[in-house]
C-alpha cells in the first residue's frame, strides 16, 4: 500500500497530466514513476528493518 502522501501526490499529478500537452505529460508521468519507486524502496527498507529487529538471532546480542 502506498504511503498516504505519495498516494496523494500521484493523484494530484494525474489531474495535472490531463490538463497539459505531450511533453509535459511525459515529465509528469516520469515524476509519478519516480515517486512510486521511492515509495516501494521505503516500504521494502522499513520491512527489512522490522524483520531484522524482530529476528531471534538478534535477541541475544
Amino acid at each position: 500500500m502506498l504511503e498516504e502522501r505519495n498516494e496523494w501526490m500521484v493523484k494530484e499529478l494525474e489531474q495535472l497530466f490531463e490538463q497539459v500537452g505531450f511533453d509535459e505529460k511525459a515529465l509528469i508521468k516520469a515524476a509519478q514513476t519516480v515517486i512510486l519507486e521511492q515509495d516501494k524502496r521505503i516500504w521494502q527498507m522499513e520491512g527489512e528493518l522490522d524483520g531484522t529487529l524482530w529476528s531471534p538471532k538478534n535477541w541475544y546480542d
Binding site: 509535459e24 511525459a26 515524476a31 515509495d39
Partner: protein, 230 residues
C-alpha cells in the same frame, strides 16, 4: 556536460520516429545536433569542423536507423574520414579519450527476435560490436544504447517513456540509479514552463519536487540505519 548528437538518416523528414526524437531534443546549449545528410548534402564532409565538434563535447551520440545491422553508409563514411589516426587514435592518447560514446537507433523488428532462437539470431550487444570496438580504440566510455523497437506500434505511454529516456541519455550523467533519476526529474520539473500550467498546477509541481527530495532523505536515512545493523 555537453553532448554532440550526430544523426545519420537519408530521409529524416519522412521518418516519424526521427521527427519524434527531434521534437524531444532539449532546447539547451548543452546539446548540439549535427544531422550529417543535412550538413553535407553533396557528401563532402568537413573533417576539421567535425573534429572540432568532437573536441568541444563530452558525450558523443550516434543516432540512426539500423540498416543491415549497422548504420546508414554516410555515418560509416564519417567514421572513416573523421576518426583519423593522430586525432582519434594512435600514438599517445587521442582527442576522444575519456569522453562518453552512445548509440540511439531504431529497429523495425520486435526486441524478442534479437537473441539466440529469435529470427535475427544475434543480440544487440553482439551486432553493435564494431561501435563498441571504436569506442574502445578511441578511449571512450561506451554507454548502454537506447534502442527503439517498432516505433510505429508504440502506445502513447510508451512514447512518453521514450521521450524522457531520450532526454536523459542526452543530458544526464551516466548513472542509472534511482537517486540520479530523481535528481534529473527534479531539475526538469523546476525548469518546466508551460502555458497549460496555472498557479494551482505550479503548486502541484512544487509539492512534487519537495516530496521527491523528502523521500530521498528518508531513503538515505533508512539505508544508513540498515547498513549500521550489519
Amino acid at each position: 556536460m555537453k553532448t554532440l548528437l550526430i544523426i545519420s538518416h537519408p530521409s529524416i523528414l519522412e521518418s516519424s520516429s526521427q521527427q519524434f526524437l527531434l521534437s524531444a531534443v532539449p532546447q539547451t546549449e548543452q546539446v548540439t545536433v549535427n544531422h550529417l545528410e543535412a550538413a553535407y548534402p553533396d557528401g563532402k564532409i568537413d573533417v576539421e569542423r567535425e573534429q572540432q565538434l568532437l573536441k568541444d563535447n563530452d558525450r558523443v551520440i550516434f543516432q540512426f536507423p539500423f540498416y543491415w545491422y549497422s548504420s546508414p553508409a554516410f555515418l560509416k563514411q564519417w567514421q572513416d574520414e573523421v576518426l583519423t589516426e593522430g586525432f582519434a587514435h594512435g600514438g599517445a592518447q587521442g582527442e576522444l579519450a575519456g569522453k562518453e560514446f552512445g548509440l540511439i537507433f531504431m529497429l523495425g523488428v520486435h526486441e524478442r527476435e534479437y537473441q539466440a532462437g529469435g529470427r535475427e539470431l544475434y543480440t544487440i550487444s553482439e551486432l553493435t560490436k564494431p561501435f563498441q570496438a571504436m569506442a574502445h580504440k578511441t578511449g571512450m566510455v561506451y554507454l548502454k544504447p537506447l534502442t527503439v523497437f517498432q516505433f510505429a506500434y508504440m502506445t502513447d505511454e510508451e512514447k512518453m517513456d521514450l521521450f524522457i529516456e531520450y532526454q536523459r541519455m542526452l543530458t544526464n550523467k551516466n548513472d542509472d540509479s534511482l537517486a540520479s533519476k530523481e535528481k534529473w526529474i527534479v531539475n526538469q520539473l523546476r525548469l518546466l514552463k508551460s502555458a497549460d500550467i496555472d498557479e494551482a498546477g505550479e503548486n502541484i509541481i512544487n509539492h512534487a519536487v519537495e516530496l521527491i527530495e523528502e523521500n530521498r532523505m528518508n531513503i538515505n536515512e533508512l539505508t544508513k540505519v540498515i547498513e549500521e545493523m550489519y
